[in-house]
């Protein structure tokens, strides 16, 4: 018998995979770490706001995208309310990338990979790359001359690096599926993983203050002729 989360776990339960997953999850992220009440004093700066601003923009992107997907291209091109939601989707994406880039700059200059936070940094970098793909396929899903032009230009670029046969940007069905299902799922999953890693390892502390300059060394003792010094 052992204690787990305030109750005993029998040997039979110990062999269950749900017990194993639960104990690992709670061990890695106990509730007070998952939803903390306090943060270190150095977090009290505007530069720490841009991560959550990115997530807030992502929520608006997904919500407006769901509505656009439900209503269809004619709605978002022709009706006033459809154009409004089209604009909401576009400007939320602009804010998403704006906040994400400022967040990236802030974390780069903080050296946010320090102290065992390498995976946090890498998941953030991968989200950035996947989000660029999601935005690109969004351009291709507009259903207008813009998307046709971008598809024909993008196809040349992707063919030149040898992935045109896997990622056919002039195939609307393929690009639309990437845009509304595959890439959003990847972005959301990576963002969740990224945030859980931040919760687990905490926010990176600032670089330590520079040590004070050492005192000037005392002058060497006067050499005497017996030591081979200058006469």
């Amino acid at each position: 018998m052992s204690e787990g989360e305030g109750r005993s776990v029998s040997p039979e339960e110990r062999q269950m995979w749900t017990t194993w997953v639960r104990e690992r999850a709670v061990g890695a992220l106990p509730p007070e770490k998952l939803l903390p009440d306090r943060q270190p004093a150095y977090v009290s700066s505007w530069i720490y706001v841009f991560g959550v601003a990115t997530i807030a923009a992502l929520v608006v992107v997904i919500a407006s995208g769901v509505i656009l997907g439900l209503k269809g291209p004619e709605w978002w091109h022709v009706t006033a309310i459809g154009r409004f939601f089209n604009g909401i989707h576009l400007w939320a994406v602009e804010l998403f990338f704006f906040a994400m880039v400022v967040h990236l700059w802030g974390k780069f200059f903080m050296g946010a990979w320090r102290g065992g936070r390498g995976r946090t940094w890498v998941t953030g970098a991968i989200v950035f790359l996947v989000a660029i793909g999601a935005a690109f396929t969004g351009y291709l899903s507009q259903q207008n001359f813009d998307s046709q032009w971008i598809a024909s230009e993008g196809k040349d670029g992707l063919n030149s690096v040898g992935i045109g046969s896997f990622f056919n940007v002039v195939d609307f069905g393929q690009m639309y599926t990437f845009h509304v299902i595959l890439l959003p799922l990847a972005v959301v999953a990576l963002v969740v993983w990224h945030v859980l890693l931040v919760r687990r390892h905490g926010v990176v502390p600032p670089y330590p203050a520079k040590a004070p300059m050492p005192a000037a060394p005392s002058p060497p003792p006067q050499a005497t002729p017996s030591e081979g010094g200058a006469p």
Binding site: S44, S45, W46, I47, V49, F50, F98, W105, G106
Partner: protein, 59 residues
């Protein structure tokens, strides 16, 4: 009745023309992208310099 807002905005920000570009040696970028990048730098610097409001101490 159509809202006058789009007409007014359209008069202020006439986008019915090809994008304007800055071009200097190898560097070529649309003015819109340059503006966004400058804005990001300005926001980044402001976020570092502007003090974050402190919560009042509970008495």
């Amino acid at each position: 009745m159509e809202s006058p807002v789009p007409m007014v905005l359209g008069a202020l920000f006439d986008l019915s023309h090809p994008a304007r570009y800055l071009h200097w040696h190898f560097f070529q970028m649309s003015v819109a992208n340059v503006v966004v990048i400058l804005l990001m730098i300005a926001v980044f610097v402001a976020a570092i310099l502007i003090p974050f409001p402190k919560r009042r101490r509970e008495t």
